[in-house]
Structures are given as structure tokens and as C-alpha cells.
């Protein structure tokens, strides 16, 4: 965890590879996450080469916003320009829907099908294959706790239990205040810093059960009024 001043707590010099937000270097969280380097990405996706890589899970939801208009349409068109086949834009298009709606409603998948000239059933077949596409609404914060082997060896079960207890939910439910949904996920690729927890698009690493209340408090403070 970071200290109040935003500096990452320095434990002791370790090996050159370590780069969790809990550890090691005398760097700010922004430097470790790279947010100071990236800055704000434009809603239209920026350069076409990277237009398909915007956030997929936000705290905000826009249930009525048209899906492919204005900046979002420009983003999709940039994506389409990078492949020789229209179908290749399917995953990026579903990411855009997920970003706007917070999940994939059936009618939105149909709209994607229409736009990419695909059968609606085909789009659903693809959407259900990938775990990052949620077909049910979620809380504002999607808390995904890795319980695969490396995290599991270091107490991931307790971390998961603590998240469920503190949010008062069962796996996959939305909490009463609409803020939380907790899921158990497979390896997040941060095995050296157990337990790895992905909350919306952010990674929290080396999370222990006792860190859970502070993490939830920090997130709660971020909710736009």
C-alpha cells in the first residue's frame, strides 16, 4: 500500500524485477503505474494504432448514451482501419460497449453485430468465451481477486473472504450500495506480489486480508458525487 503522501513505502532493496505498488523503489504510485507518462487518453482513441485499447471498466455508467456516435464512432472507425477483416474489430467493439454501459446488455451486442455485419448469435458466442465481458450489470467497482496457485500459496483465500465480508456480498452479487461486485479470477500475471487484486482497471498487489478495509475506503472516496 502507499503512504498518505502518495510515496510508496520502501521496504528494502530487492531484485531488479520487482515493481509492485507495495514495494521497493522510491517512486510515486503514478511513476510505477505509468500514469504520469501516459496522461489522459482522448476519448476518440488517439492514434489509430492504439485506438482499441481504452479502459474497459469504469466507475461511471451511461445506460442511455448512444454506443457508436461521435468520439466513440471515430474510435471504432480507427480500429477498423487497422485490420483487413471487419470481424477483427469485434473484441475492441465489445470493449467499447463495456466501457460505456459497464457490461454487455443483449441489445448492445445486437448493435455491435449489425455494425460489423455479423450474426447476433456469433457475437454472443464470442462474448461468452471471454471472461472480461460481463453479461450482467456489476457494481461500480469490480473487485477481482486472484486465487490461482502463487496467490493461493500466500493467503488469497483469506483476502477473498475478507473482501466478501467487508462488502457484504456473495461472489458475483452487487452490494446494496451499488458499489461492489467481488469475483474470484484466474492468474492476473502478478504472481510475485501476492495476493493480486484487480479493481476495475487498476491492479493492487501484495494485498493482505488486513489491507482490505483501507482499500475499500480509498475507493469509496473516489466515487464521483
Amino acid at each position: 500500500m502507499t503512504n498518505d503522501d502518495g510515496k510508496v513505502r520502501k521496504i528494502r532493496p530487492r531484485n531488479p524485477g520487482f515493481a509492485g505498488i507495495t514495494g521497493e523503489f522510491d517512486l510515486t504510485e503514478a511513476q510505477i503505474r505509468g500514469t504520469d507518462y501516459v496522461g489522459a487518453r482522448p476519448l476518440d482513441g488517439g492514434h489509430p494504432s492504439v485506438a482499441g485499447t481504452m479502459p474497459y471498466q469504469l466507475t461511471t455508467r451511461a445506460p442511455d448514451l448512444p454506443l457508436f456516435e461521435g468520439e466513440y464512432l471515430r474510435r471504432l472507425e480507427k480500429v477498423l482501419s487497422r485490420y483487413e477483416d471487419r470481424r477483427a474489430a469485434l473484441l475492441p467493439a465489445l470493449h467499447i460497449v463495456h466501457e460505456i454501459r459497464g457490461y454487455l446488455p443483449p441489445e448492445a451486442m445486437d448493435e455491435v453485430a449489425e455494425r460489423l455485419l455479423l450474426a447476433p448469435a456469433y457475437v454472443r458466442g464470442v462474448a461468452t468465451f471471454y471472461t472480461m465481458y460481463n453479461l450482467q450489470p456489476l457494481g461500480r467497482f469490480l473487485i477481482q481477486v486472484c486465487t490461482n496457485i502463487s496467490c493461493n500459496l500466500c493467503g488469497a483465500d483469506e483476502v477473498l473472504r475478507e473482501f466478501l465480508e467487508q462488502t457484504g456480498t456473495e461472489i458475483g452479487e452487487i452490494s446494496e450500495n451499488g458499489l461492489w461486485t467481488v469475483l474470484e479470477v484466474e492468474c492476473l500475471g502478478a504472481c510475485g506480489f501476492p495476493t493480486a487484486v484487480q479493481i476495475n482497471e487498476r491492479f493492487f498487489e501484495s494485498v493482505k486480508a488486513e489491507d482490505v478495509p483501507a482499500i475499500l475506503k480509498r475507493l469509496e472516496a473516489e466515487v464521483p458525487a
Binding site: 485490420y83 464470442v126 468465451f129
Partner: protein, 419 residues
């Protein structure tokens, strides 16, 4: 070499990377013939770092020459093997190292377009890489007529959506094309008919990151590290019950015991090591007395396991082996794409039987059943996910049979519900 600039935020930026010698290899490569670059990479002995260890230069030479078709380079950044976290660090700290490798690789195989398929969960690494790619386009290292060479080199960053199987090269191609990430039968091999049915080469992030260094310094220089057949350095990801987990770059062939005990500090105080997985959850488990082995492809195979992608998972004497094997098999059952019956059924049933044993309601004959299922899952499917699921089962039953037997007959009323 690869990890030199980890933890240095300045190395992320184009300016910082150029100040550290970045993109000199690209300039050099564009002045050389494609054949010479491939020969140099062949000479270096560099082998694919995604797990299979196939020689990179040889793979590149499979690509047709002057076919008149569009060629593609695919960078596999879908790092999702449990225990692996090296590519994420490479991308978040040294995005330009990867991009330079991609551009050189694309040039060498006559591909004018390189896709980097990055796993969807790696949001931070994706944003960093996206910014870096924008910088590269602004500076003219990518796009039309790169550095006045007359060659077009495009890069596109493609975001996955959470499926382990998309790390398999043909599954990755399916996914990039907008399909379910189902692996395809080979042949045709990707070099003949790959993504969009065009000649394609797929390389891991770490492999491509090594390329600029080889172009700059020569293949012979790269051979100074490692063994005769496994050259160079490699990132090893260490996790589990160890004092200092993290990424370590060491020469191939380094002694495994020394690595775990001296470099990584060994097990937590007062504990001893029980088992180690040397190359990610897909490779056979080693017991603590098997560790005097070199960390290279050949030595690991003669020790009955595999180097894989260098993901070392250490388990100490408090570990419940049965539970951890069950957890790994659960993972494969979840991630099986379901095309092949031995995998779809085998992983699901093996997971159920393992859970029954874990709950204390298994029988000794369950172990024979598990071994039999594992045999039927090995070498019988389109891709190796099925084989990967079988490896921890058979190796753990062979090496830790007592752990299984201790649980047989231990069932209680509480655990009976799940039996």
C-alpha cells in the same frame, strides 16, 4: 540486459530510451539485409521465451521470401501462465525495448504490420505501451517509409479479453480475427497460413526484447551467456513461499538450487522447501531433492520437467499439495476451450476427483483413475492445454503420493456435501 532499466521511469519515454541507446539497433537493421539479420539471430542461439524454446532465427527463416503476400508479425503479450509476470514488467518499464524488437522482427520477416496482442487485464502496461507507440509514430520510427528506408512498418496494439488459451499461438490468431480463441490444427503452420490466412510469425515479448541487443552487439556476443544450446540470459519469475519473490535475469544454465536459496533467499524462516514448479503451472512438479540442475531447456528436460517460460513457483513444507494441484486443474478446466473431448472432459473430471480427495472422500483407486485420465489427456488434442493440465497431476501423484494417501478416509460430515 533485458531488465537493466526496470524501475527507472525515465527509460519509459522515447527521449529517455534514445538516451540509453534506444533505436540504434533499428537504424542498423534497416541498413542490413533481412537475410543477415535472420542469420545473426540464428547465430545468437536465441530461443523462444514463451515456453516452447524454439530457435527464433529458424522460425523467422520459415517465412516465405518475396511471396508478394502481406506478412504479419504477431507479438504474444497475452502472458497468462500461472506463475509468470515477466512480460508485464518488460512492457511497463521498457515499452520501447519491445517496440524496437517488433519493428526489427517485422522488417526481418518482410511484414509491414505487427500486431501486439496484449492480455486485457494488463491495463497499466497497455496504456504505457499505447503511449510509447504513439511516440514512435510521431518520431517516424513506425509508419510509412520508416527513417527514409523505403519500408513501411506499422504496429497495432490489440487488447485481449481474458482467456488463457489465447496465449496459444493459433488461439491467439483466432482471437485477433474476432473469433472465440480456439486453437487450430497445424498444419498449416502460421508461416504458411496465419492470421487472416497470411504468412505469420508469432514471438513472445521477451524474445522480441532480446532482438535489439543481438542486432547491436552480434550473435556471438549473446552466446557469452548460457550453455551451448540454451544461450543468453532469461527472466525468471519467482513466486510462492520464498523470501524475495520477483523477476530475476540470470544466464541460462544457472544452478537452480543456488538460484532459489541464494539469489531468492530460500524459503521463509523456519520452513523448508517441499516442492518447486520450475516453469509455470503447466510443467511437472519437482521435489526439493531434485534441485541440483541447470536452468536451461536441456537440463530441465533431463530432470523430467521443463523450463517453460521460467516461472518458478516455490512451495514450502506447509503446502497442501493436493489442494494446489486441484487449484491448478480447476484453472485448466475453466480455461479449456472445449473443442477437444479429452481436454474438456478430462480437466473437468480430474478437477472433480481431486476435490473429492481433498475433501477426504477419495479412494486409493481414484489415484489410478487420475493417472489414467491424465494419460488420455496427453498428446491427443489440438493444443497442449490438456497436456499441461495432466503434468501437475501425474508428477504430484508420483512424487507426493503420501500426501494424497493421507487424505483418503479423512472425510467428515462437513466435507461430505461436496463429495
Amino acid at each position: 540486459m533485458l531488465s537493466e532499466h526496470f524501475g527507472d521511469p525515465e527509460a519509459r519515454t522515447l527521449e529517455g530510451w534514445e538516451a540509453r541507446g534506444g533505436y540504434s539497433a533499428l537504424r542498423k537493421a534497416l541498413g542490413e539485409s533481412r537475410k543477415d539479420i535472420i542469420e545473426e539471430v540464428k547465430k545468437s542461439g536465441l530461443r523462444g521465451r514463451g515456453g516452447a524454446g524454439f530457435p527464433t532465427g529458424v522460425k523467422w527463416s520459415f517465412m516465405p521470401k518475396d511471396s508478394g503476400k502481406q506478412h504479419y508479425l504477431l507479438c504474444n503479450a497475452d502472458e497468462s501462465e500461472p506463475g509468470t509476470f515477466k512480460d508485464r514488467e518488460l512492457m511497463r518499464w521498457t515499452p520501447h525495448q519491445l517496440i524496437e524488437g517488433c519493428l526489427i522482427g517485422a522488417y526481418a520477416i518482410q511484414a509491414s504490420h505487427c500486431y501486439i496482442y496484449i492480455r486485457g487485464e494488463f491495463f497499466e502496461a497497455t496504456q504505457i505501451l499505447a503511449r510509447a507507440i504513439e511516440e514512435v509514430y510521431e518520431a517516424g520510427y513506425a509508419g510509412k517509409d520508416v527513417l527514409g528506408s523505403g519500408h513501411d512498418l506499422d504496429i497495432t496494439l490489440h487488447l485481449g479479453a481474458g482467456a488463457y488459451i489465447c496465449g496459444e499461438e493459433t488461439g491467439l490468431m483466432s482471437s485477433l480475427e474476432g473469433q472465440r480463441g480456439e486453437p487450430r490444427v497445424k498444419p498449416p503452420f502460421p508461416a504458411v497460413s496465419g492470421v487472416f490466412k497470411k504468412p505469420t510469425t508469432i514471438n513472445n515479448v521477451e524474445t522480441l526484447c532480446a532482438v535489439p541487443h543481438i542486432v547491436n552487439n552480434g550473435g556471438e556476443w549473446y552466446q557469452q551467456w548460457g550453455t551451448e544450446k540454451s544461450t543468453g540470459t532469461k527472466l525468471f519469475c519467482v513466486s510462492g513461499h520464498v523470501q524475495r519473490p520477483g523477476n530475476y535475469e540470470v544466464p541460462m544454465g544457472f544452478n537452480f538450487r543456488e538460484f532459489i536459496y541464494d539469489v531468492c533467499g530460500g524459503p521463509p524462516d523456519g520452513r523448508t522447501i517441499k516442492a518447486v514448479i520450475p516453469g509455470g503451472s503447466s510443467v511437472p512438479i519437482m521435489s526439493a531433492d531434485e534441485l541440483d540442475v541447470g536452468m536451461d531447456y536441456e537440463a530441465m528436460i533431463s530432470a523430467g520437467t521443463m523450463l517453460g517460460c521460467g516461472s518458478v513457483i516455490v512451495m514450502d513444507d506447509t503446502t497442501d499439495i493436493v489442494k494446489q494441484v486441484r487449484r491448478m486443474v480447476d484453472f485448466y478446466a475453466h480455461e479449456s476451450c472445449g473443442q477437444c473431448t479429452p481436454c474438456r472432459e478430462g480437466t473437468a473430471w480430474a478437477a472433480k476427483i481431486l476435490r473429492r480427495i481433498e475433501d477426504g472422500w477419495g479412494t486409493e483407486s481414484d489415484l489410478d483413475t487420475l493417472v489414467e485420465i491424465s494419460e488420455n489427456m496427453t498428446g491427443k488434442t489440438i493444443c497442449v492445454l490438456s497436456d499441461s493440465a495432466a503434468a501437475p497431476i501425474t508428477s504430484s501423484i508420483e512424487k507426493f503420493r503420501e500426501d494424497y494417501l493421507a487424505l483418503i478416509g479423512a472425510g467428515t460430515v462437513e466435507t461430505a456435501r461436496s463429495a
